[in-house]
Symmetry: C2
Subunit: 311 residues, 2 copies
């Protein structure tokens, strides 16, 4: 059991990661910009609030003073850092990515200074040079987006910084997460909520192939990475590619309204690669985590989650 | 003429860059952690102090609030950023390099937000993968040191950030600067001050070949980069390699005490490449700046400068 500092704990992946880490028996200290609901009992230091699974601490990681104070107070030996700027539609190119390079390096310095021993950080498949169909961790890097450049540069400094400090670092390159709790503007959520409301769902022709991974598997992979001794980059994907058309068809089948899908009503975005699929060998063989949810089951669970909220 | 924000203005290269920029007719606003000597006349905003060549502003770039406030107040259209952690003997591997990645990216964001148009930043020959004798800007990158990793990562983010903001960026990869004002622990200064004092000067066998460039030429190159429209990486070197033995012999000749040099009394540092010489074609042909001082003349001037201070 470790004392784990979790950032981005109230985000899409973070909420699931919190459950996975708590479920694995860790003492989770969650950081959030917002004050979460829970019980103020002083157990986690000034301003900390306990919920069932974690002790919550309010801190804005983009504020140097707040971040350093919180990290010092928590004194975690492990770090799972998921927080980043992820505003849908803008995060690929936004200048806020640079703010998060700075915030992440500062966080890592503070974690090391506070005696941290092992860190798992979220990277992205956008670090790769998009020139092939399947990517092992050794594939050439060459990000095409601000988001990818920022993550890739952060990783380079983080790897050197942790190596010099004799702190372990694993870097999870996340492929295409989906599942309960994702932003309503994202693909699966937007199609599911439209169809559940009986409204038309405009989508692209959907020919692009992606490695869709259910958010519970993303969370499980990060928890497993923390508990392993693997260092360096690890793809967080299933190893299986599916076209966007396939996932949209699965959603439409689960809801029973295929006639509402408007194929081709949205242009495919420029500059995005036709294929983006992980070689998941390192995650499965070295970390020892095999993604559990097949795409059909994952979609059905996600649709069920949205259905409850639409009711 | 531009309104130029100069960082590191009280440093080794910065003092010479200040003179070069002022000499080229720019309105120089110098930032320094220390309050410089000069005349407080309010011309440059709160707390600014005018000297002959520049208006000085006190700000610690590693403090987010101070840095952003100073950059906003100055409202420069050009930036020459030389400040970094450069403590002799430790800067190659120090964790402070990470602080300067953060500080540099924050500075650049603030400069862009304040309406800046063109930035020239200091990089390093340590960004290259040290595997050859001579380096064009297109040579493979692969830094072996924390300093090189930090500079290289900063450049990747800075290039993307400025391109997206339509701000011009030139990145000067500095080779081996020497000259008046360098730290007393550095090679030329330490040998010159020892010999001038009649004391023995312990040195290595001196077989490593470097591209030594006089600090006035470094400063001239940065001023010329600012006035050019060149973007991307530019080597700041002479294009000529000299062994450390050659430069030490020139010092000893200039002072007339060759018998005081103790060859081999210091081990050559591990991990440093045998050759490190710039292809200076881009600086000379595209920027239009040809380094002026031959090694012999540069050494003689530097020895004369130390002799004045020893007298």
């Amino acid at each position: 059991m470790s004392r784990v500092l979790l950032t981005g704990a109230s985000g899409f992946i973070g909420r699931h990661a919190l459950a996975a880490l708590a479920g694995a028996g860790h003492e989770v200290h969650a950081l959030s910009r917002r004050q979460p609901h829970g019980r103020a009992d002083g157990a986690g230091g000034a301003g900390a609030v306990s919920s069932g699974e974690a002790t919550w601490h309010r801190a804005d990681l983009t504020d140097a003073g707040e971040a350093e104070r919180a990290v010092r107070e928590i004194g975690a030996d492990a770090l799972v850092h998921l927080a980043w700027y992820v505003e849908h539609g803008t995060y690929w190119h936004a200048r806020e990515n640079v703010v998060w390079v700075e915030a992440t390096l500062r966080l890592l310095r503070a974690f090391i200074a506070a005696g941290g021993r092992r860190a798992v950080l979220a990277g992205t498949c956008a670090e790769y040079e998009w020139s092939r169909e399947r990517y092992a961790e050794t594939a050439p890097l060459g990000p095409a987006t601000m988001y990818g450049v920022a993550k890739n540069a952060t990783r380079q400094v983080a790897e050197r910084l942790t190596a010099d400090a004799e702190v372990e670092l694993a870097w999870g390159r996340v492929f295409m997460p989906y599942g309960p709790g994702e932003g309503r503007e994202r693909l699966l959520a937007s199609v599911a909520t439209a169809l559940l409301a009986g409204a038309p769902a405009p989508v692209s022709q959907g020919t692009h192939v992606r490695d869709f991974i259910h958010v519970e598997d993303v969370a499980g992979a990060f928890a497993a990475m923390l508990d392993s001794s693997v260092q360096g980059a690890v793809n967080v994907g299933t190893g299986h590619g599916h076209s966007i058309r396939e996932i949209v068809e699965l959603i439409a089948q689960a809801i029973g309204r295929p006639e509402l899908v408007r194929w081709g009503a949205v242009a495919q975005r420029d500059g995005e690669p036709a294929h983006l699929v992980a070689d998941a060998g390192r995650l499965i063989d070295e970390v020892g985590y095999t993604p559990r949810l097949e795409l059909r089951e994952g979609v059905e669970r996600t649709v069920a989650w949205w259905r409850e909220r639409a009711a």
